[in-house]
């Protein structure tokens, strides 16, 4: 004996066997996830549900008492599985260079909720830069945290690979402490002494101040608080920025995207 239930699909009441209904539900869910990132996804899903309901009703009008598994499988074959549709989409997006970039939560490279990752791929900058900006915004008044939560709630999800051609790393080959200054210098293409000077000067000033060489009472005080902030930032940076470990990391740190791509293409026999 099979349990039969009535469902309302896109305005049609259909009698359907329980296991067939479960199959249909999970199929619709998979399509929903597939079209989620697409513009007009609600409309597409409504059209598809309409069509599925129509196909199933046609099936019933042939004399079946209720929709069974075979009928649902037939619908899936006609409409296409989510995997088959995304294969088609890939060819399509390779074709359409004008595809719009959308701001999403990017789950492919997330630490917390994928917001920084999504913002980074939207602006095509390195994710580490976005993470640093976010940490600074969060520590200075908490605005970053609010913005993060809001974006996490409202942005749709996606899992495209993050776009970035140059990455911020800690350069361990030229490190004094943890390679932050050298990495920053490589990323911003300035002399390594510029970040070292910025981080080092307040430290030097406060040491001089505490030794008592400075007679101006204000200077050591400013020096110490400034110095404390910068040390904190330095510590945060050495946690947030990844180490450049592999040769690929080092190439990305220098921004040698093209040579890396060619190298990968050669070694894997791919065609870019």
């Amino acid at each position: 004996m099979k349990e039969v239930i009535n469902i309302n699909l896109s305005g049609r009441i259909l009698a359907i066997e329980k296991d067939a209904a479960d199959g249909l539900r999970s199929y619709l869910d998979s399509l929903h996830r597939h079209f989620n990132a697409e513009e007009g996804s609600d409309e597409i899903m409504a059209d598809i549900e309409f069509r599925i309901a129509e196909l199933l009703q046609n099936e019933l009008s042939k004399g079946k008492v209720a929709v069974d598994i075979a009928a649902v499988e037939d619908v899936k074959k006609k409409m296409g599985l989510a995997e088959e549709l995304s294969k088609d989409e890939e060819a399509n997006s390779a074709n359409q260079q004008t595809a719009k970039r959308r701001l999403t939560k990017n789950l492919s490279n997330k630490m917390i909720g994928g917001v920084c990752s999504g913002v980074a791929s939207f602006f095509a900058v390195d994710i580490t830069v976005i993470r640093i900006v976010w940490v600074i915004m969060t520590l200075s008044g908490g605005l970053g945290l609010l913005v993060y939560i809001a974006l996490w709630v409202f942005l749709p999800e996606s899992d495209e690979p993050v776009f970035s051609n140059k990455k911020l790393f800690r350069d361990m080959d030229h490190a004094w402490i943890s390679g932050v200054c050298s990495g920053l210098a490589k990323y911003t293409k300035v002399n390594i002494w510029v970040p070292r000077f910025i981080f080092g000067l307040p430290v030097a000033v406060s040491i001089l101040g505490s030794v008592g060489l400075s007679t101006i009472s204000g200077v050591p005080f400013i020096g110490v608080s400034f110095n404390g902030g910068l040390i904190l930032i330095y510590i945060i940076l050495s946690y947030v920025i990844p180490k450049a470990v592999t040769n690929f990391d080092k190439m990305d740190m220098e921004g040698e995207e093209k040579s890396r791509r060619e190298w990968v293409a050669e070694s894997e026999g791919l065609d870019f």
Partner: protein, 109 residues
């Protein structure tokens, strides 16, 4: 490069052109479009048609109206807009040039 990818890319452009060409004859609902394409030997997964129709509609090439149906809830009937017609004419011209070129090159081999 794999041949499946190339085939799929070829079909993509043609599919859009065929939809515009079919709707140039008059308004139709998606079920008609599918049947016409299948009948002509251009089989496709229906799941790829609906996103394409929505995209064409959002791009201003198609519009639709609801029409009562005897067999169920009202259906969407799509038709070409002025913009869509212009688009079709351009595609048609380039298709004719392309197919002629392809045939010429192909038969010389």
């Amino acid at each position: 490069m794999n041949v499946e990818n190339t085939k799929s890319q070829m079909r993509k452009g043609i599919l859009e052109f065929c939809i515009l060409a079919f709707l140039k004859r008059g308004e139709a609902y998606p079920g008609d479009i599918i049947e016409e394409l299948r009948g002509a030997g251009l089989g496709l997964l229906e799941g790829t048609l609906y996103p394409l129709l929505t995209r064409l509609k959002n791009a201003g090439l198609l519009s639709y109206r609801w029409e009562e149906s005897s067999s169920g809830p009202p259906r969407k009937y799509y038709s070409l807009t002025k913009e869509g017609e212009k688009n079709y004419n351009e595609l048609n011209e380039s298709w004719e040039r392309m197919s002629e070129a392809v045939n010429r090159i192909n038969t010389k081999i």
